[in-house]
């Protein structure tokens, strides 16, 4: 499996990037859900494990700034030294990778990646997309309809989409749970390699022990409430 080198317009990926969760207390209607403090440095992957109902997805929602009504949170979130606790979701620069690739059906493969990239000249963008696709073994599939790709291919396009949006941190929500074991391992390797290469702080939510082991980072286990 090839690895994906730095993109055309990424200036530097310093190791100063850092995601800090400071004294987070999440509750649902006054009922305590979880407490968490953690610092994730660039290239590190913090794994959160726990059964369903333990507040994993609530945590992710808080991190992305999409906490639903009925939940409340105390504590602060810092990204690269900036306090982003109350910043709107779309201004946080935190990328998301779900178990479903969630590619946009109305756009081609290249369109999906282009959608994520910052504005620049069309030629530059196309070159960057092609390069990125080639590096993950999908060269020449630019104009394909995402629905026509295999599951593993879709997962890789989704990964490229997140990375080329130049996020400052990445959240992984059970990212490999829908892939079969062979593909799972390959894709996992690719994703983790890329995260390390880009020196991005990452948080992965999973209930799969092999995922947690492969992340080689800190593991926090949440207990089921009630």
């Amino acid at each position: 499996m090839q690895t994906f080198a730095s993109t055309a317009n990424r200036s530097n990926t310093t190791s100063t990037s850092e995601l800090t969760i400071d004294g987070l207390i999440l509750s649902r209607q006054q009922q305590h859900l979880l407490s968490l403090s953690a610092t994730i440095r660039g290239g590190e992957i913090l794994t959160i494990m726990g059964p369903s109902g333990s507040g994993k997805s609530t945590l992710l929602n808080w991190l992305t700034g999409m906490l639903p009504a009925g939940f409340s949170a105390e504590g602060q979130l810092h990204l690269n030294g900036q306090n982003i606790t109350t910043t709107a979701s779309h201004l946080r620069h935190i990328g998301l990778l779900y178990q479903d690739p969630l590619l946009f059906p109305h756009l081609s493969v290249a369109g999906n990646i282009g959608f994520a990239m910052p504005p620049s000249s069309k030629v530059q963008r196309q070159a960057a997309i092609s390069e990125a696709l080639t590096q993950v073994g999908l060269g020449g599939l630019e104009q394909r309809d995402p629905q026509s790709l295999s599951g593993g291919q879709q997962a890789r396009v989704a990964l490229l989409r997140v990375l080329l949006s130049q996020p400052k941190a990445i959240l992984l929500d059970e990212p490999f749970s829908k892939l079969d074991s062979q593909l799972r391992q390959e894709t996992r390797q690719l994703v983790f390699d890329q995260i390390r290469q880009h020196q991005l702080p990452a948080i992965m939510v999973t209930h799969d022990q092999t995922d947690a082991d492969a992340a080689e980072g800190k593991i926090i286990s949440l207990d089921k409430i009630n």
Partner: protein
């Protein structure tokens, strides 16, 4: 049960054809019944040779171009506005609980008949209406109503306001219905989240990610709205200008003119109306093409923000304004229905009386009974045929062909004014005596598509494993249908019933024409009173028009709950 089981399969197999026949024969027959006179063939007037006189007369009608233009502009502009506001509301409140509140506020508007909505809006914007009373005389200085031209303005702005407000809830609820489909809705919401995490502002994320997938599901409802708006008579009749009116209203007047030879011109006009409707549909298609061509490169240009905050503020204003207009219109109607004398700049009547409700209730019971009976019959036919057709679909294992599903919506897409006059003629040929049946048949044409639309998705989505389990226990298809599928679908069936009733309650032209004046419903009475001498009686009838479908939906919502509750107690 045995005979039922024996008969069940053939009946089910036969029902799709029955349904198609019930829809196609009246529409096509009606069209023929209009095309022949358009080319000069009316035996009743001793005209039996074909000619183009009708079209020449039509062409020479003063203001014919104006009429056509008015139909085209009002339908296109109002559909576009209703669509844009729908999209803006969705985009602005996509992740907010307000979307649900707006849905609940606008939902009831959906079942208000067009005529009632037009009457309410007319009351609001007329020079002596609620709007000018609220600002007079302290702000406007008006002691007498101003001499402005709303409603009935020559540009058709009042029509546009009426159609937009009436169709907006329809489009919005259609869109929300799409988003409520578990698979599609969840995917779209997740994709919206992805776009947010990629740095897109919520508004842009909606337009670039959700809308392209949502729009194809909205296309048919939009085209139905457009086709309807281009050919409807209720709103233009009540709110539109009459010098000249829209083409559809003019055609209706020619058909009813004392000068019987005008029927040839009216038939030619009906043909023009069909072309006009096709033209606006083509315009929409072209517009859609242009926008998609223009917008395609923008989807992937990486721009994350297009003044979303400002657009959101504008949407807040539009939404608030709309809800205010609707609220004021309803309050105004309610006040009028209880008003004693109501001197102009006063915001409230001098006294409140129940005289108008009493007077109306004396005149109302026959139309009321007819309204309900017709609606019950038409809905019963529509529900039965729909369920059997959907069951046939599952027997044969394949969905209706594309042609079939287009045919179901034919009565909604072909301007009703174009085939109803022909239909009346056709009914005269076969069955001129049974007015009640004629009216029911005509209502079925319009009730069936909506009932089908409402039931099809629930029926098709029903987990097939229930049937498989039941069949493995030895149940016949009939037994599965009656004992498994229908009870499981009782909620959707009741909702479809309520929708069918509401559609039937609101029919004006089909009742007027096939009923030949012998059968009056609340709606036909309300329209004829709308241009009559009494605002108060008119308000009572319009309110009745709103109460009836609301009752239907209330029952549809309550009955399944009560049934379930009774069982829980047992």
């Amino acid at each position: 049960m045995n005979t039922v089981a024996k008969l069940f399969n053939p009946i089910v197999r036969f029902s799709p054809f029955m349904m198609m026949a019930l829809l196609l024969i009246p529409v096509l027959g009606g069209l023929i019944g209009v095309i022949l006179p358009a080319f000069g063939w009316i035996p009743a007037l001793d005209q039996t040779h074909f000619s183009l006189n009708g079209f020449q007369q039509l062409w020479q009608t003063p203001g014919i171009g104006h009429m056509a233009l008015l139909s085209i502009t009002t339908s296109l502009v109002s559909t576009l506005l209703a669509f844009l506001i729908t999209i803006l509301i969705l985009a602005s409140y996509f992740t907010s609980p307000w979307l649900g509140y707006i849905q609940r506020l606008l939902g009831p508007i959906l079942v208000i008949p067009h005529a009632a909505a037009a009457i309410a809006i007319g009351f609001l914007i007329t020079p002596s209406g609620m709007l000018s009373r609220l600002v007079s005389p302290w702000l406007s200085g008006w002691d007498a109503p101003p001499d402005w031209l709303y409603p009935h303005d020559a540009m058709g702005l009042s029509i546009i306001l009426g159609v937009t407000l009436k169709e907006l809830p329809f489009l919005l609820l259609m869109a929300l219905g799409v988003l409520a489909q578990p698979d599609l809705g969840q995917t779209l919401r997740a994709q919206h989240k992805v776009a947010l995490s990629l740095g897109y502002c919520p508004m842009t994320a909606f337009f670039k990610v959700v809308l392209p997938s949502l729009y194809p599901h909205l296309r048919l409802p939009i085209l139905a709205v457009l086709a309807y708006a281009s050919a409807s008579v209720e709103i233009p009749l009540i709110l539109g200008p009459n010098n000249p009116p829209t083409l559809a209203v003019a055609i209706m007047q020619w058909f009813h003119d004392v000068d019987l030879s005008l029927r040839i011109k009216a038939s030619a006009g009906a043909i023009l109306q069909i072309q006009l409707t096709l033209f606006v549909l083509a315009c929409w298609w072209l517009l859609e093409r242009l926008v998609s061509q223009f917008a395609k490169p923008m989807l992937t240009n990486g721009e994350r923000e297009y003044g979303g905050a400002i657009i959101q503020k504008i949407t807040h204003v539009i939404t608030a304004l709309m809800l205010t207009i609707i609220g004021l219109a309803l309050v105004g109607m309610l006040l009028w229905s209880f008003a004693g004398f109501w001197h102009f700049p006063d915001a409230l009547p001098q006294q409140f009386v129940i005289l108008h409700w009493q007077a109306a209730s004396q005149q109302m019971h026959t139309p009321l009974i007819d309204t309900v009976l017709i609606a019950l019959c038409a809905t019963a036919v529509a529900i039965t045929l729909t369920l059997l057709t959907l069951e046939a679909e599952q027997h044969s294992g394949k969905s209706l062909s594309l042609l079939g599903s287009v045919l179901i919506y034919l009565p909604l897409l072909i301007p009703s004014i174009a085939f109803l006059f022909g239909l009346v003629w056709l009914l005269e040929q076969v069955n001129s005596q049974h007015t009640f049946i004629n009216v029911v048949l005509a209502h079925v044409l319009f009730v069936l598509p909506y009932v089908f639309l409402s039931l099809a998705s629930s029926y098709r989505r029903l987990d097939p494993r229930f049937s498989i389990v039941a069949a493995s226990l030895g149940a016949t298809k009939a037994k599965i249908f009656f004992r498994i599928k229908l009870p499981m679908l009782i909620g959707p069936i009741f909702i479809a019933c309520a929708l069918g009733l509401a559609i039937s309650f609101s029919q004006y032209l089909p009742t007027l024409l096939t009923g030949g004046g012998r059968i009056n419903t609340i709606t036909t009475e309300a329209v004829s009173l709308a241009n009559g001498g009494s605002r108060r009686i008119s308000a009572v009838y319009a309110l009745m028009q709103m109460i009836l479908p609301a009752l239907g939906f209330l029952l549809a919502w309550l009955l399944p709950k009560i049934i379930v509750k009774n069982h829980r107690q047992k």
